[in-house]
Amino acid sequence: MNREIAVVAFAQTDHRRTSEELSEVEMLMPVLHEVLDRTGLKTADIGFTCSGSSDYLAGRAFSFTLALDGVGAWPPISESHVEMDGAWALYEAWTKLLTGDADTALVYSYGKSSPGPLRDVLTRQLDPYYVAPLWPDSVALAALQAQALIDAGDTDEPALAAVAARSRADATANSRAQLRGSVPAGEYLVRPLRTGDCPPIGDGAAAVILAAGERARELCDRPAWIRGIDHRIEAHSLGVRDLTDSPSTRLAAQKAGAFQRPVDTAELHAPFTSQEVVLRKALKLDDEVRVNPSGGALAANPVMAAGLIRIGEAAARVHRGESDRALAHATSGPCLQQNLVAVLEGDPR
């Protein structure tokens, strides 16, 4: 079946260093209500629900089942969960809608990084035999990639600082962002990356509603049609990869049709400044493209939600008529290991 599927609504929390006064479901629920309110839908109207989160972040076992309380999942609903960024939950929901099993889907994800040592927590996703026993933290791995880019002549420290400054300046227009305005480059965290090159650590959640065909037009004045979406992964061993390039991003973009016509906007999930350099190269983005008008992950990086937020931000620009064709990218794993690309378009005006 060939169905047109669109993002029809997007909502997110304020992203903050800590939300310790709230449980995960307490943090998530207002976002679920907000995204449903935008469409006038109720939980019972939703055909499929899919979420993305990781219990390791807050160290709370089965938190994703508790989070379901906020959806109203009893009596049982058609539901699924991925231990991945919500962008991949959206991919699963998109597939479900393609089959015709459902006409609408609720996709949400959340991350509470404040209770735990995030840099160390993320080491647990690495190769358990050869890498995880060394506890190389997420900043260290990104720094290895940044140094490779500098050695290759693809960037230098001032260029990285400029990426950080542009992102946080753009974030001044994003009231949800955690890090906005003038942020100092700071000291080296793991050289060559300075604190300013790294994303803020914080808590947040996001939700999106997808709808198919005419249902999408009923629910949204200008749906953001998903023209293509694809995700690809690279070898898990860092030493096998060329860290200065992202062939998986390029392939996903090609499969999603991103290179067929230029996009006007790109929301890139680049938690570290150096990763934007890699993504711009892989996606062949020139200076005509508005990159991360939201401020991107350098302004707010709720782990497990930041990728879904890229899709939501890109879609929201289409909804508002600020973009006609936007690219959204999400990443997972160390040094851009796995990448998802979606192309969103509005109806001609």
Binding site: E20, E21, L22, S23, E24, V25, E26, M29, L32, H33, T43, Y56, A58, G59, R60, L66, L68, D69, G70, V71, G72, A73, W74, P115, G116, P117, R119, D120, V121, R124, P128, Y129, Y130, V131, A132, P133, L134, W135, P136, D137, A140, L141, A143, L144, Q145, A146, Q147, A148, D151, Y188, V190, R191, P192, L193, A235, S237, L238, G239, V240, L243
Partner: protein
């Protein structure tokens, strides 16, 4: 709003993992101060070795021995080592392509400072004093002036005496747990020996303990409702095996207890009655020990048993 409760929470687990033949040969080799790689279908040598070709996905098993010397392909200076990392003094993370290999291995590089490290620098393996067959048998790399050894790596059978067949990878993460608004209120009330649940504004059900949301309606609960202290055993089981670190004589009874006014049952231990006399419908009350923040157990109140119809919806 009262200050959110917080408590330290340590999540600690030893992962016991079995090894594939290639991983076993590589890690056993490290124990014997030998670094093995594996040849891919197109003739490249991967170090560390994997079981499947990253390009063609074919199974690969041809092992070769590479040199313990190599070249840094990228690095990052870590001035503040974190717990469990290979060195506790400032060091460089480095990807090192060992002589004879076509790919790089991640490890620590012990160097006096960032000015002493550069891409292309020559290094060698520093072996750990005690080796068990793990990636940490390489203590780290260290600077080592030498020319790259260009000789083709020699084949290796991968066979050793007493090969390691598994690893135990301990992992510990330290969190600060905070239970959120609804559970904080519940726990604080419990410390005053009161059971306070929350009512759903939509279906009116009272949740004890409250989790902040009604799973049926998907809305926040907020109206606080004191329930109990008496309640009814809705169902129970008899525990015959002593739990580790739990100082309770077996057999004992663990039960679902619907406190009066609550919309669902919570669980607790039943005491003050022989285990084989506990029954559905038994009326119970909490027993508090001095200074405790929660009931130690529940005991019979002596009231007549509750009618099945009064708790059938709470089973």
């Amino acid at each position: 709003m009262p200050e959110a409760l917080k408590a330290p929470l340590t999540v600690e687990f030893p992962f016991t993992r079995s090894l594939s033949p290639v991983q076993s040969a590589f890690l056993t080799g490290l124990r014997e101060r030998i670094v093995l790689g594996v040849r891919t279908v197109d003739g490249r040598t991967l170090v560390p070795p994997v079981e499947y070709d990253p390009v063609t996905a074919e199974e690969i098993r041809d092992l070769v021995e590479v040199a313990p010397t190599g070249t840094v392909t990228t690095w990052a200076w870590n001035h503040a080592p974190r717990r469990d990392q290979p060195l506790d003094t400032p060091f460089a993370w480095a990807l090192v392509r060992l002589d004879g290999a076509d790919t790089a291995l991640l490890h620590a590089l012990d160097a006096p400072g960032p000015d002493a490290v550069h891409t292309g620098m020559r290094v060698r393996v520093r072996w750990a004093e005690e080796r068990t067959g793990a990636i940490t048998d390489i203590a780290c790399f260290e600077p080592y002036d030498s020319s790259p050894n260009e000789t083709e790596p020699a084949d290796h059978t991968g066979e050793f005496e007493n090969p390691v067949t598994g690893i135990v990878a301990p992992a510990r993460l330290d969190y600060t747990y905070s239970p959120g608004r609804a559970q904080t209120a519940y726990i604080n009330a419990l410390a005053e020996q009161r059971n306070v649940g929350e009512r759903c504004p939509s279906c009116r059900k009272v949740y004890v303990p409250p989790r902040g949301a009604c799973p049926t309606c998907g809305v926040a609960t907020s109206e606080q409702v004191e329930v109990g202290p008496h309640g009814t055993v809705t169902t129970f089981c008899i525990v015959n095996i002593k739990a580790k670190n739990l100082d309770i004589e077996v057999p004992y009874v663990y039960a679902h207890i619907a406190l009066d006014g609550a919309g669902l049952a919570l669980h607790g231990r039943i005491g003050g009655i022989p285990y084989d006399q506990v029954r559905m419908g038994l009326r119970v009350e909490p027993v508090w020990t001095r200074g405790a923040r929660y009931p130690d157990h529940y005991r019979p109140t002596g009231e007549p048993d509750a009618d099945y119809d009064t708790y059938r919806e709470l089973l």
